[in-house]
Symmetry: C2
Subunit: 311 residues, 2 copies
């Protein structure tokens, strides 16, 4: 790879920055946001390429369909919005037309049905030899509910939903040939905290929020950069059942990473649990330092943990 994903995206953002925005917020969050009346629409897009993001040998077509939907609505939930619709583009080689594509659509439909999401547009076309899938997810929320990466405040508690490292542990299981572990199933299906995101959107004490797609070691840096803050993360507090490296640098957990006013944290964690059944765990604090520090029982460690790079 000649250019990293982030460098190329950075070039594009600066190149297009001078064009009129027509009410859209600048690039930088999980979704773009446009305000219309009292509500906001949020939108995100994601491209999945065969033999880069999935293998036909390792995932069923239904699983690829379900995961394609879930990873995108996860970005919508991370904005505090409710996913309402998607657009789906498929390019299909001869070998994936018919059975594979029909099973893919069954998996995609099952996830749309589970979360009550419309399919409002799309494109299907041939390809020479590999499948490419592009999903656009659209969400809606009152404008006041929208959560941005830039909203973290010094002193905020850093928190995560659920348990981390499951998806990357599942990927390792799959690499060792065991496709049937609970972690492998979760990796193949994907995850999205739809009810949790929409509920957290209603809480003004929730400041910054995003989903965990590349591991918290990488993802927290987006919040730090856009909020111009630092972060202390306590390794022993991270909710995981596996080696801590899965939880910190493993990708595709699609749990929510958020910062919360410390005065409200306990009440929000209790109410989220009551409303959705999902545990919210405090793992650190937003600091003024500008840096990311990993702590082990309160003492800084020199672990060099970096997030997953797509290229």
């Amino acid at each position: 790879m000649k250019r990293s994903e982030f460098a190329f995206i950075g070039d594009i953002a600066s190149m297009f920055g001078s064009l009129p925005h027509h009410g859209f917020e600048p690039i930088g969050d999980d979704c773009t946001v446009i305000s219309m009346g009292t509500d906001a629409l949020v939108m995100t897009t994601d491209m999945l390429v065969e033999d880069v993001h999935f293998l036909r040998a390792a995932s069923t077509a239904e699983e690829v369909g379900t995961k394609s939907l879930l990873v995108n609505i996860s970005d919508v939930a991370a904005m505090g919005a409710t996913p309402i619709a998607t657009l789906l583009s498929l390019s299909l080689p001869e070998s994936a037309q018919g059975e594979w594509s029909e099973a893919f659509m069954r998996g995609y439909h099952a996830a749309c049905h589970e979360y009550g999401i419309a399919l409002v547009g799309g494109d299907t076309t041939a390809s020479r030899d590999r499948i490419t899938i592009n999903v656009v997810a659209i969400g809606r929320a009152p404008m006041a509910n929208i959560k941005r990466r830039s909203a973290a405040k010094v002193g905020d508690i850093i928190a995560v939903t659920g348990r981390l490292g499951v998806s990357s542990k599942g990927l390792v299981d799959i690499m060792f040939g065991d496709l049937t572990t609970e972690a492998a199933k979760i990796h193949r299906r994907g995850n999205a905290r739809v009810a949790e995101g929409a509920w957290l959107g209603t809480q003004s004490a929730v400041h910054a929020m995003m989903d965990i797609s590349d591991g918290i070691a990488s993802d927290i840096r987006h919040i730090m950069e856009l909020s111009d803050v630092g972060a202390d993360i306590e390794l022993s507090a991270i909710p995981t059942d596996y080696d801590i490296r899965y939880a910190t640098t493993g990708g595709e957990d699609y749990e929510l990473l958020l910062t919360v006013d410390p005065a409200n944290f306990d009440a929000i964690a209790t109410a989220l649990k009551a409303s959705t059944g999902t545990t919210l765990t405090a793992i650190g604090r937003i600091t003024a330092t500008g840096g990311l520090r990993w702590l082990q029982d309160g003492t800084p460690t020199d672990l060099d943990l970096n997030g997953f790079t797509h290229f």
Copy 2:
């Protein structure tokens, strides 16, 4: 190809038809529509695959970039809306990272700059060996301006903007090795009637509208089906400089195809010309028969003209 594009899309539309729509109109037009307050947002998506939709040997990266934008904003214009923003996904093999992708972005940016369109989201990823491009175009208009394929009325004049058959003549020129004809340049760059679409959107006497992507022989059938009407088209009236087959069955002209109240046609054609410089030409009439008839100087002919099939 085992299934035609339209059959697969038809299956999908019926499969997802029972899910909640959240205010989006059902699939069937150039764009999906959601009303928010007094305005509507319209959205469309299109996937372009290397060696299916373009060849690196026959189009420059800048041209592919420009065309990717134009074919999508053409769909927005066909709804009577103004394109305001896009989301862009790219999957790039090693050989297209760096120079090719940067030139692509220059072409895409040039077209965005020309029409004042924001880039509000996207995704870049690796691929194994071919480029795939997915563009989502978003437009905005007062809800009353939105034009649908289902709105044609018996007696309406069928009209087209500009001159037809240019892009397919250009494709043939390219196939014969002549990449420099005016038609070849138009084929490689694409086309979009942005000002014309937005202006026609303001006219209540314009009933149905769509863009011509597959040739009028194919495209008029979408209006006929959704409006439950027939059509008579006079071959001698079709504005073209080439063999009539280019104009009727050739793809990618991206001119507008519309139906207009006959009492207002002359005034609209005159005002469109004054406002945009573009000629509107009457080529036929909407009928009650349910069928499509081709006329040669008023006499039905038995030409069997079919549109371009993507698969």
